[in-house]
Amino acid sequence: MEFVGEANDNKDKSSSSGSLRLWSQWQLLDSILPTGGFAHSFGLEAAMQARLVISPEDLRTYVIHVLENTGSLLLPFVYAAAMSPDTQTWHKLDRLLNAMLTNEVGRKASIAQGSALMRVAASVFSEIPSLKMMRSEALSSGAVSFHHAPIFGLVCGLLGFEAETTQKAYMFVTMRDVISAATRLNLVGPLGAAVLQHQVAPIAEDLSTKWMNRAVEEACQTCPLLDTVQGCHSYLFSRLFCS
């Protein structure tokens, strides 16, 4: 009798931790999480001032290209960190990504978002004390840049999310942030933005499937025009966004 009771207890524990995980997932993907994602336009502001993006149709194409480049360059880092959410792997990935984000604007944005995410995650997910430890160690050593993609993978990995979910979530937050920037740049209204996001979702799913679960050695950029334009952000005389 006790045996059955224990088994039921275990089942309850695992299903309750599974349900709790869902709440953590939603919180991590909610734009209300104070990670400062709203300060970055992923090169959209520069693309608009360079007349590469003028209409909502151009915006749709732009979002798809951002997702393609995110998939090819950053998903491998999210994947690797999620699969081995430990200090050594994190440091190694952070160093490598720092050398691969050759666009200074994008590199600084990654550092700003990563630092904010690490800070928030260490405070919010207190059931994972290693987050706080890793963060303070990295801050005092000064050897870590705090890039976004590896930290995203690290946090999700430590929270017990599956690798596939983690990578798709990364694509989701990227899509969310570019489209949000587009509304603030007056390229599309809030309702139009929501419609666009839903229309692009199947493409985001396709691109996630295409680029997920790859080794960092395979990471590459597939949209050099995007990279060139985003690098122009610091030349903008008047700007709303940091990047």
Partner: protein
């Protein structure tokens, strides 16, 4: 497979080619007087038999620039990559080692991949803190007159700079391939040339600052706040609309204390990139004996 070899070292105070081995289908040409004899630099031209890279060709080469020496690697004309037969991919690989106080200048003409070509290149550079490197890596969309614009199957270029054998300073892999959600030409819009220029090391410090300033000035003139009626408005017949800039460039620093500068360029014409390279690299004439891209 045997690899090509090039070694340039300081011999009796002058940069000298001490080893030169090439294997078919490529060949090195080392003119005795590439430029003024006052400058201390060895110029090496790479050519391919048949004028291009044929499907399935595979080339590998090791380049060593000894301490204090200067070597220039260039081409006679653009590298044409012919169409891929079967699913064969053509490859080029270069492993370069640059010594203390040495300078390696890699200034090829652009790669032009013809319709359905498949091409991949890897360039690894091992440097020490006092090494200098100028690298130009660029590609055009194909034979525009024939209507070939980004019609090749696959292009991949990796450039890797390794400091003292173990620290990756810079790693860029650009991969262009048709995807399900848009071909290469959609991703590159009306731009027909993309280029990447890397400047690293003490001998290139002046050019680094000059080029950053020039690009900033050039681009600031090109970038404009969109007019109020952009986007949301349903009218599309706006009579006044600035065209896209025909030449886009941006600079970024990389490495500790901004040791290196990388410039990315997207241009609608090959000529404007040649002009840009000529202008920006003109001051190297004193160091190399001749100005690049003249």
């Amino acid at each position: 497979m045997e690899r090509g070899k090039l070694v340039v070292e300081r011999v009796e105070g002058r940069s000298t080619l001490t080893r030169c081995f090439s294997k078919y289908p490529f060949k090195f040409i080392v003119p005795n007087k590439a430029g003024s004899s006052k400058a201390d630099a060895v110029w090496i031209y790479t050519i391919t038999y048949g004028g291009g890279v044929v499907s399935g060709d595979s080339m590998a080469c090791d380049v060593t620039v000894g301490d204090g020496a200067t070597a220039v690697l260039t081409t006679q004309s653009s590298t044409k990559v012919y169409k891929s037969v079967g699913s064969k991919c053509s490859q080029q690989k270069m492993e370069a080692s640059i010594g203390k106080g040495a300078l390696l200048v890699v200034i090829p003409d652009p790669v032009t991949c013809f319709s359905t070509a498949k091409y991949s290149q890897i360039q690894n550079f091992k440097v020490v803190p006092e090494s200098s490197l100028l690298l130009v890596d660029w590609i055009t969309s194909g034979r525009h007159e024939r209507g070939e614009k980004w019609a090749f199957s696959h292009y991949k270029s990796t450039n890797h700079i390794l400091l003292q054998g173990n620290e990756t300073l810079f790693l860029d892999t650009t991969s262009l391939e048709h995807g399900r959600h848009g071909g290469i030409s959609e991703r590159l819009q009306d731009y027909q040339v993309i280029a990447m220029i890397v400047l690293l090391g003490p001998k290139l410090k002046l050019i680094q600052s000059q080029i950053q300033e020039d690009v900033k000035k050039l681009m600031s003139q090109q970038l404009r706040l969109p007019s109020v009626s952009a986007g949301c408005s349903s009218e599309s017949g706006s009579s006044y609309r600035l065209p896209k800039p025909s030449f886009l460039a941006s600079c970024s620093t990389f490495g500790p204390k901004g040791a290196g500068v990388v410039i990315r360029v997207a241009s609608m014409t090959t000529e404007s990139v040649y002009n840009f390279l000529q202008d920006q690299l003109a001051s190297l004439e004193a160091l190399l004996g001749a100005a690049p891209y003249l």
